[in-house]
């Protein structure tokens, strides 16, 4: 309450000053006092500044955006830079003192984006131009038509040209002239973009005269969007599938190959996520910070593998041949690991940041947008699968592992240290789970409960795919992901999951050995 008043009174004062006929006011100075006012007034001032074409506007607006625009109690505005603080009017150097940053909200930020866009559309930096072109698309004002045309005539970079054309079309919709508007409608009809649809519908509401043309344009866009939606759903399914694949791969080794039911598998995943967090914290502020995530992959693998090896040598090996007991015991181990992590790191979520190259969307030819982190996780999932296959097929360790699985006694007589192979296999499976944790730290909570959400799904994937078959795990995970995502829009997320689970249960009872069942005598045993 107090703060409101303190902001408001000087503003009134300033208004009086502003309207005092002291000297001729240009657009810049008339707009300025608004910046010390309420959010609405700031937004208005920003819009005015955007169209002012005043050279002082750009640094001022940038300062506002970065929180470097300060305001004194009396409403004087100051710009803070690395070099020092200067007054906006007059430009004389001064002390910041008790001045506070001018705060912005969404409304102001929206206005800023548009204003900066119009001001930067002719910038020499192509990145800024592209951003500006995008911003202008959203702010869509008829005032932008002329600058956009100018910009378009000079632009050489194809990506920016495309965006400029879009923005121009959008701005034309805001023109008072229906002929110009129709130009815009025609251009937007060729775009496959939800924002274009939104713009057109908005225009339709404002200009009912053009309803017919706009409807036709929207129908065209929607037709293409529908196709894209199918592709998007498929991508989302694959991405969910790759998460399931990552979570299940470790299990495919420990359960599928060794037959060990490890209920603490989810906790191995969780440990991997915490390893990611620890690596990130260790690298924070060092030159390694940008590559913390790739560095976390081996770290997570090693941590989870070490815990796995200890678990196998210390506990699980005494229970071979008694899978149900192993199940119960590892459940207890899971409880202990969870609580240990909770006591060490606290119950709160830990923040694992995504590196810049994993954020945002990636635009494919045809305008299809895929989220970067999901793309990376799909790639990572396939890489890890490749790693597992390679380790089992082409290494000495893989050979010994397969030998021990097929016939422990004969393998032992061949000089293979079966105990060591068991420990390594289990450690390997656990390590894979740890690597999955790195991926999950990018999309889910890094909390002690992280693993519990994945354990049942992982078991379902392995059993559905066929125990002991990596191909089955891959196909099973991807299928479950796609089916789940395809059903979600109709059934809702919860029901989709329930239906998928029931579906798997029915499937398993028809084919108890899963999709890629091992056939023959080995399976009969």
């Amino acid at each position: 309450m107090k703060r409101h008043l303190s902001g408001f009174l000087p503003f009134l004062l300033l208004c009086c000053l502003a309207f005092a006929p002291a000297r001729a006011q240009d657009a810049f100075t008339t707009a300025l006092p608004g910046l010390a006012g309420s959010f609405g007034q700031i937004a208005e001032a920003v819009e005015k500044l955007g169209t002012s074409a005043d050279p002082r506007a750009l640094p001022l607006l940038q300062a506002l955006q970065d929180g470097r625009l300060l305001k004194r109690e009396d409403g004087t505005l100051l710009i803070q830079t690395a070099a020092g603080t200067t007054e906006v009017l007059g430009g004389s150097a001064t002390e910041a003192g008790t001045a506070e940053a001018v705060r912005v909200n969404n409304r102001v930020r929206g206005a800023l984006r548009g204003a900066l866009g119009s001001l930067q559309i002719l910038s020499t930096d192509p990145d800024e131009r592209l951003k500006a072109a995008e911003a202008v698309f959203r702010s869509r004002s008829a005032d932008n038509i002329r600058p956009l045309e100018t910009a378009l005539s000079r632009e050489t970079v194809p990506a920016i040209r495309t965006q400029l054309e879009l923005s121009l079309a959008a701005s034309r919709l805001a023109s008072p002239d229906n002929a110009v508007r129709l130009q815009g409608v025609a251009a937007l009809a060729e775009v496959t973009d939800q924002n274009a649809r939104a713009l057109l519908l908005e225009t339709k509401a404002q200009v009912p005269d053009l309803a017919r043309q706009i409807d036709a344009a929207v129908a065209k866009i929607e037709g293409r969007l529908r196709v894209r939606q199918v592709v998007e759903t498929l991508f989302q399914g694959l991405s969910l599938g790759s998460v399931l694949l990552l979570a299940a791969l470790g299990l495919a080794v420990t359960f599928g190959v060794m037959g060990v039911i490890n209920m603490a598998h989810g906790e191995m995943v969780m440990l991997g996520a915490y390893a990611t967090y620890m690596v990130q914290e260790a690298c924070r502020g060092t030159f390694l910070a940008p590559v913390a995530l790739p560095l976390a992959i081996p770290a997570a693998f090693l941590l989870a593998a070490a815990v796995g090896a200890v678990l196998e040598r210390g506990l699980i090996r005494y229970l071979y041949g008694r899978p149900l007991e192993t199940l119960l015991m590892t459940f207890g181990v899971g409880m202990i690991l969870q609580q240990a992590v909770r006591l060490i790191f606290g119950a709160q979520n830990r923040e694992v940041t995504s590196p810049a190259w994993m954020q945002g969307v990636m635009t494919l030819p045809g305008g299809l947008q895929l989220t970067q982190n999901r793309v990376w996780i799909i790639v990572f999932g396939l890489l890890v699968l490749g790693l597992v296959v390679a380790a089992i097929r082409y290494t000495r360790f893989g050979l010994e592992m397969r030998a021990v699985v097929q016939n422990r006694r004969i393998a032992a007589t061949m000089g293979i240290r079966t105990g060591r192979v068991d420990a390594l296999t289990f450690a390997f499976g656990s390590g894979i789970a740890g690597m999955a944790g790195v991926a999950l730290s990018q999309i889910d909570n890094v909390s002690p409960n992280l693993g519990t959400g994945y354990i049942i799904d992982s078991f379902m994937v392995v059993v559905f795919g066929g125990v002991g078959s990596l191909a089955g795990t891959l196909v099973g995970a991807l299928m479950l992901g796609v089916v789940n995502k395809a059903m979600e829009p109709y059934a809702g997320a919860v029901l989709a999951k329930v239906v998928v689970l029931v579906g798997i249960m029915l499937f398993i009872q028809r084919r108890p050995r899963g999709m890629f069942a091992l056939k023959g005598r080995a399976a009969e045993a």
Binding site: I261, M263, L315, Y318, L319, R322, P323, L324, E325, T326, L327, L328, M329, F331, G332, V333, G334, M335, I336, Q338, Q339, A340, L343, T452, I456, F459, M460, V463, V494, L495, K497, V498, L501, V502, I504, M505, L506, I508, Q509, R510, P512
Partner: protein, 363 residues
């Protein structure tokens, strides 16, 4: 799976029976001692009564699991689902009995339906205002589910860990389904704020004592049924199935039928336990379906000693007592203790606490 039944020699059997009846008597005394004035040295607090009443229902659940797992080798990780379904059936009855005493004063609809905008009672809620119907449903619905799941699973010869994973998925799917508010079971909040049962106000010592005795009778009854099964030829067929199922088939027994019988019986007992549990704890919600709960219940049996009925009961009481104690005495560390116990028991005491005891007896 190796044979782990503990067959006690004849003399300890008599002692065992004495111990059992002694334990039942001691339990039966608890509500009576509760009636003594608080100053008396023998007074037992209300808390003990209610918490012991709850453990008794857990013991019934443990018996049910033991019958399926300890005797027949069917490790179901979904018994919590049968327990919860029994609980829901009883919960529906209790909700109907609230009648117009709910916050909105609606004569028929429970509160959660009123504020979620239901206009009328969903069809599957009909009839639950009658106690016998609700009680029957508490047994019938778990039984029916077990029949369907068991038939599908046993017919396709899904055994061992596959069955465990399947039943775990079952209870998980049910949990997700019951969390949905659209199911008409109150979603996450489930049912609470029960008022009365069979004309008794639930928040009175009398009602607590009555429920306590009902549970005790049910426990003794369940014990009797399980014992009757275990000492009959059926019990020997079960052990035979557990140890060598295919051999039993070659003897001409339809193991699918036998296992189905036991699984359904076990589910019905679990449902009974759930039905007695809910009025005592005053809440039923989808959390009861969570896979962790089912695994925990299996672990009670493992701790007590599977393949013996007394072991199941002992396990349910001791693990839960430990949990009740530790969640207060060591709120930050109790998971270590409990997790450690599970690890230790599976590693060092494959026959559970009873194994410890009977080894001494045999010496």
């Amino acid at each position: 799976m190796s044979a782990t039944t503990v067959t006690l020699p004849a003399t300890p059997r008599v002692t065992l029976r004495l111990v059992l009846w002694g334990a039942v008597l001691a339990l039966a005394l608890i509500p009576l001692l509760n009636q003594l004035p608080e100053s008396s040295a023998l007074h037992v607090g209300d808390f003990i009564v209610s918490v012991t009443g709850k453990w008794i229902t857990y013991a019934i659940l443990a018996l049910a699991i033991d019958l399926a797992w300890g005797y027949t080798g069917i490790l179901s990780l979904g018994h919590g689902a049968f327990f919860a379904l029994g609980g829901y059936a009883m919960g529906m009855h209790l909700m109907r009995l609230i009648g117009p005493r709910g916050a909105y004063g609606h004569p028929v609809l429970p509160d959660f339906m009123v504020f979620l905008g239901y206009q009328e009672l969903p069809w599957y809620w009909l009839g639950f205002n009658f106690f016998p119907y609700a009680f029957l449903m508490a047994l019938f619905i778990p039984g029916l589910l077990a029949l369907i799941v068991g038939y599908l699973a046993f017919r396709s010869r899904i055994t061992g860990v596959y069955l465990s994973i399947l039943t775990q998925a079952l209870t998980y799917a049910l949990m997700l389904a019951f969390f949905r508010n659209d199911m008409g079971f109150g979603g996450n909040n489930g049912f609470t704020d029960f008022k009365e049962l069979l004309g008794m106000a639930l928040n009175t010592p009398l009602a607590r004592a009555m429920l306590f005795y009902a549970s005790l009778v049910a426990l003794v009854g369940s014990y009797w049924v399980c014992q009757r099964v275990s000492i009959s030829k059926l019990g020997r067929v079960l052990l035979a199935i557990r140890d060598a199922e295919s051999r039993v088939r070659f003897l001409g027994y339809s193991t699918t039928q036998v296992k189905l019988f036991v699984f359904v019986l076990s589910a019905v007992l679990a449902g009974l336990a759930g039905a007695l549990y809910v009025p005592q704890v005053g809440i039923i919600n989808p959390g009861e379906f969570s896979p962790g709960n089912s695994i925990e219940a299996v672990i009670w049996v493992a701790v007590g000693g599977r393949g013996t009925l007394i072991g199941a009961v002992l396990g349910a009481f001791s693990v839960n007592a430990l949990k009740t104690w530790l969640t207060t005495a060591a709120p930050d560390l109790w998971l270590f203790a409990l997790g450690g116990l599970f690890v230790a028991v599976t590693l060092f005491l494959p026959r559970g606490l009873v194994g410890l005891f009977s080894r001494k007896v045999q010496k």
